[in-house]
């Protein structure tokens, strides 16, 4: 008998395995033509056959994603700190931020291409544009939830606004910040791949566009799976960092207070 714990640990792998088997069974069973929907084994075959180019393009995508993500983190942290610690800046910027976030980022790609040409830079910037918003919102929320009593305690000790931000505001915002990183990194993949499909000759997005124009559907699917895997790995990585850095917020039964 499996214990509850082992079951929880195995469950995600079982689901993946189940989907893989189902995929293979449907495609083979219904004899779906492979230029429409290749079987998993065909995708695996294509992956092995094109291993080197796939790795090269995946590295490129990982690089652009991480670069865009890094800019988003720095920018998001700074903007979030500004928005969260000043009601005036909050009021002033929020409508603009929300409006900006409603624009599909793919709409920016042509603009970026005109400015920076085809290649890596538009992909990095698209990854950045799409992923900074959750960081800003979470950091701002974390900062704005300072209890008035704690503020009174600090101010009557003679603490400056900067002191309060450093001693209470930022540490309190950290769980929110790290939670946002998980979301932001997956969004960054979306951004870089979108830009690569339209405006690059490198990266998994480009690889998939090239493969689909030569009707190599197995390679297209291989690209999709590679992106998915990179996304999951990065997500888990940041989830791990989150648990390590802000354990207090999870061990505390009353949440972040």
């Amino acid at each position: 008998m499996l214990s509850q714990k082992t079951l929880i640990r195995l469950a995600p792998w079982l689901v993946v395995l189940f989907c893989a088997v189902l995929w293979e069974a449907i495609v083979v069973g219904f004899k779906v033509p492979s230029f429409l929907f290749p079987s998993l084994s065909a995708v695996w075959g294509a992956t092995l056959m094109h291993w080197d180019p796939i790795m090269m393009h995946a590295t490129q995508t990982l690089f652009t994603t991480l670069a865009g993500f890094a800019i988003a983190v720095v920018f998001g942290l700074a903007l979030g700190a500004a928005v969260g610690s000043s009601p005036v800046i909050y009021k002033a910027l929020y409508p603009l931020l929300v409006g900006f976030n409603s624009i599909p980022k793919v709409a920016f790609v042509p603009v970026l291409v005109v400015w920076f040409g085809i290649g890596t830079v538009p992909a990095i910037l698209t990854a950045f544009l799409i992923s900074f918003f959750p960081v800003v919102v979470n950091v701002a929320t974390g900062l704005a939830t300072l209890e008035p009593e704690m503020e009174d305690v600090l101010r009557s000790l003679g603490a400056s606004r900067l002191d309060i931000l450093k001693k209470v505001g930022l540490p309190r915002a950290m769980p929110y910040f790290f939670a946002s990183l998980k979301v932001a990194i997956t969004l960054a993949f979306v951004g870089s791949v979108i830009a690569e499909t339209v405006a690059s000759n490198l990266g998994i997005g480009y690889l998939m566009m090239a493969a689909s124009s030569s009707m190599d559907m197995a390679l297209v699917f291989a690209g999709l799976i590679v992106i998915g895997i990179m996304g999951v790995v990065m997500y888990e990585l940041f989830a791990l960092v989150e648990r390590k850095v802000t354990g207090w917020a999870h061990r505390n039964p009353n949440g972040a207070m």
């Binding site: 209890e147 009593e149 704690m150 009174d152 305690v153 600090l154 101010r155 009557s156 000790l157 003679g158 603490a159 002191d163 001693k167 209470v168 540490p171 309190r172 950290m174 802000t246 207090w248 917020a249 061990r251 505390n252 039964p253 009353n254 972040a256 207070m257």
Partner: protein, 259 residues
Amino acid sequence: MDFVRFEDVSLAYQPDAPFAIEDVSLSIRENEFISLVGPSGCGKSTVMKLVTGLKPPSKGYVYVDGRQVAGPQKCVGMAFQASNLLPWRTTLQNVMLPMEIVEPYRSTLRARRAEYEEQARALLKRVGLAGCEDKFPWELSGGMQQRASICRALIHKPRLLMLDEPFGALDAFTREELWCMVRDLWQEEPFTVVLVTHDLREAVFLADTVYVMSKRPGRILVKRDIELPRPRDLDVTYTEPFAAYVHELREHIGHIRGT
């Protein structure tokens, strides 16, 4: 010379709002222990904010240590009903917080951290929290958190301690233990205390002077000196004179609520 002095102080939170407190005059001697009682919403916490300079008065003057209060005081100790300990800091780190902000500790912290931490440990030990230095706040009981919170309010040796219903959320036994703790700390190294409470026994047991405030807008209705000899033992709470004080204050409060 009065340490804290209010001259006809009124405060409205918004310019056109009615006064939260009105024409409050009081004077507190250095190292006096005063207690403020009154109905909920009468402006007790507001008086605290005025003493500490977190709010400027709309009318009247507030003086602390002979100087008119302009802006937040630099080194007041405060503790509230909620302990407000920072969950990412250990108990010791929480108690050390004022040392990172208040001068002269702040600028000497780097060089003399060990010495200051020793002071914090000694204070924690003093209130019965030896061994809890490295625990996080959520690992402490409510009473222990409140002890730590009071240590944090006192570590930088403030001349003024503000306590806003600090024992309100505790059970009766723990509350009496903490009364004695505050009494002892105060008796050993006196400082001026303003204690807001709903508990008349607490006020009479701890304070030199009890002020009763009216319903909103808050005014000082009664100033009562408590002439029970010090040091006061918990046994004093079962004596005739103690009961008489509590009863008298009880009647004043009854009047306020009745009208």
